[in-house]
């Protein structure tokens, strides 16, 4: 295949990843198809649904609206990179489980990225702020209610510095 390839180096979830990619390969497709980080999802490919959200240099962006070549030299965090260093769920991920802030799971990685971005910047968000922060992430399963509840729950836990038991609750 004669499509020209470009060398990129991107730190993905803390690990440097080097690759040769066509210019038109989007960041989301590179993450999913080449790096096999399939946690980030494709929903629309025109920047509306937010299922493709990742952190670029620590801030949530739509990875379907970036070509992988544009990410050269930058840091990317995907949903796979949200867990604690020891592999256990982050407080936010755990709160999503506790409050059932998801159903089919397709929008969930994007939601987590958007919510984590919010909590990083605004540790005590109001309901309105939560809804605005996830306003660019569409969900068809949950009606958003339990997602908002989960984010609030996570914010409260983080605020009190509570290190409630990690991992699965009494399933």
């Amino acid at each position: 295949m004669s499509e020209k390839l470009y060398a990129i180096s991107v730190v993905v979830n803390g690990m440097e990843r080097k690759a040769q990619v066509p210019a038109r390969l989007t960041l989301v497709d590179w993450l999913r198809e080449e790096l096999r980080l399939t946690g980030t999802h494709v929903g629309c490919e025109h920047g509306i649904c937010g299922a493709c959200s990742i952190m670029l240099d620590g801030e949530p962006v739509r990875s379907c609206l970036m070509y992988a070549v544009l990410a050269d030299g930058h840091r990317v965090t995907t949903v796979e990179g949200l867990a604690q260093p020891d592999g256990s769920l982050s407080v936010l991920q755990d709160s999503f489980c506790q409050l059932h802030g998801l159903q089919c799971g397709y929008c969930t990685p994007g939601m987590l990225i958007a919510a984590q971005g919010l909590l990083d910047a605004t540790p005590h968000p109001s309901d309105e702020q939560i809804r605005e922060a996830i306003g660019g992430n569409l969900c068809r399963c949950t009606g958003y209610q339990q997602i908002v509840d989960a984010v609030k729950h996570a914010a409260a836990r983080l605020a009190e510095g509570s290190l409630s038991p990690r991992g699965r609750g009494t399933g």
Partner: protein
Amino acid sequence: MIVGEGTAFRYIGKKRRTKEDPRFVMGRGRFVADIALPGMKHVALVASPYPSARILSIRTQAALALPGVHYVLTGEEFCAATDSLAIGVDTPKVTRYALAKDVVRYAGEWVAAVVADTRAIAEDAAELIEVDYEPTPHVIDPEQAVAAGSPLVHPAHGSNVLFHRRFVWGPVEQAFAKAEHQLALRVRWGRSATVPIETFGVAAQWDPGQQILDVWASIQMPKYPDQAARALRLPGNAVRVHYDVDVGGSYGVKRGIKHTVLVGYLARRLGMPVRLIEDRLENMRGGDAHGPDRVFDMQVAFDSDGTLTALKIRALDDVGAYAGRAPLQLGKPVSAICGPYRIAAVEYEPTSVMTHKTPQEAVRGFGQSPTNFALERTIDHVARQLGMDAIELRRKNLIRKDEFPYRIPSGSSYDSGDYHTVLDKALAAIGYPALVAERDAARRAGRLAGIGISTCLEPSGGNSAFEPLFNPKNDTTTWMESCLVRVDLSGAITGVMNTSSSGQGHESLVSTVIGEVLERDPAGIRVVRADSLSALPSNSPVGSRMAIMLGGAAAGAARKIKETLIEIAAHNLHCTTETIEYHDGNVAVRGHPEQCMTWDQLVAIAHRKFHQMPAGLEPGLQAKFVWEVPTGGALPTADGVVQIYPCYAFETHIVYVEIDPETAKPSLRKYVCGHDCGVMINPDIVHGMTYGGIAHGIGAALYEKFAYTEDGQLESGTFMDYLIPSAMEVPTIAIVDHCTPSPLTTFGQKGSGEAGYLGAPAAVANAINDALAPLGASIETLPITQDDLWRVIETAKSSTA
């Protein structure tokens, strides 16, 4: 066998984390696009730009010459090599294939499929395919489509009508003749759908050594492997569907049978794995996943005191250019044709008509939500005409709790309910008198403000008796579900379910039920999915059936395991099974606690100690349970009377809306839903789906529409124009629960997969119309847009000027 009222459940009904959530928050779901088969090729489609045209020629040489392209398939080859897809009504001349042959019937219909090394190359090649069309006359409006002289979508069929029948249940004409009042009303349910965030996708691989076609798909469909095999002219046991693919939402629409036959054919033809993941443009225009698109003409007869005596419902549904199960979406509402009301006489005249638009597919509720909307608008109009309060009118006509089981004129019996109590609870939760005062104060301050209410039913259980009702040649009455439960050598429990899931939490459902029956912690119970070759029969999650049917099957299988354990115990403790007490998987002789055995001991006997097994008992510890839907199994009478779904959940929505009179922008300020689906097996799952259903309903009521131009072009084919509500459009919602258990199910559970969606559009429409009432105006078409509101407000202003 029903667990008695007042039984305290140990696991059922308790707040529990689900089995599914952890893998999804980790990003470790396994959706169809996540599956990489070695050597897999990718498909892109060429779509018709015309709503109706003859295909004169297709030139593929340039596409085939592109490096990385393996094949270009057109209808010529494909339609000769495969069979037409199934249609739910008796219309043999209406054929349907994934690729058009000779003619195209809607803008977006697939004309050719390109197979290439990457999706990008496939799209490059698709652009190089030249198709010559000769446009022919088209019809877009359903009322024109039924009129004489209309262009025909399928000329061989002779008309555009796929189905038409007039059902008369009860003394309708007499009731209208002697009623003190009647009114007529036309309402429209605009074309929208549940549009999941994941598009449909399918990957297939043909194994020539074993002659098996493996299929992975984002699927929610009954009889999927069977229909795929049939269309591919393969034996039924040559198709293996892997149900352990996570489905990113479906709510009815993921019926990609045409995509599957296409990809299955290509995989076999080319000897390489092939996958098609719809992009969003393909999905919206050519995915054949639009929803009901209806015009309702309603007539209601009533007395001065508000008693509703008869209904006439005429429903015209535009299914687009082809039909799978879509016409049957006019049939499901027969199961609750008079809603939650005591109406003794009903006439129902559904017509399913084709136009040159994207085909319609099953959407959450299978036609019940549009019907509820039409009914609830009618109720509000009756209230208005009588000068009666809309809630009082409902109270008067709602079936009372002492009237159950209540048989409606079309033949279904409502199993149980306490509609008045749920209504009271919802009114209390929203603080109704204060809300009325708030609305009235807003009006005095010059704002448009309205309260809307709906009281609706969710038929559940999936007895799809509307199939034979709409097609007497289809005498299908079996609507079964199954579960297998195994206890392995280590004593660990595994439940095996036999279909796919798309967010409903079936693994949690099954593990909770098994745990409840066996008195073992569901946290340790694993639920896996068989593939279609090793599966027990399933009718898939449709018609709000899984809590009832899969729950019932899991309970049945678990009960058999429990009985087996008790038999082993009795045999080894030298007593009768009646004197064995079972607690938490351990057993003891009643009155003699020292004569006991543990779970591990019983398991060991079952698996290893044949010498200690009672005679005639199967070794090992596994049980399957396959069962028919309760109250099912009967064919309709000649008058079209039949019991359809067995269990009826109830919901009432109360909505407060304000509309800015200057900008015409509506804002949903308060939202309460009262919900009764009997016993909830996992409340978080039920609530979650109800919130989601309400969001779907708000979309259908205010935002979402597949809009067509006169030229038959889809104007809203991207997410920029098809407006899915975000967290900013969906308000905070409060749900209040009530529980009237079903007498027909294992634990008293009813289905709730469609909850919220069935009552939200009606309530939102009623609220908007209450807000417009002081202007003397109403809007009877969904979605209600800001532009629509502006027009009404302007007209009212100029007429009072």
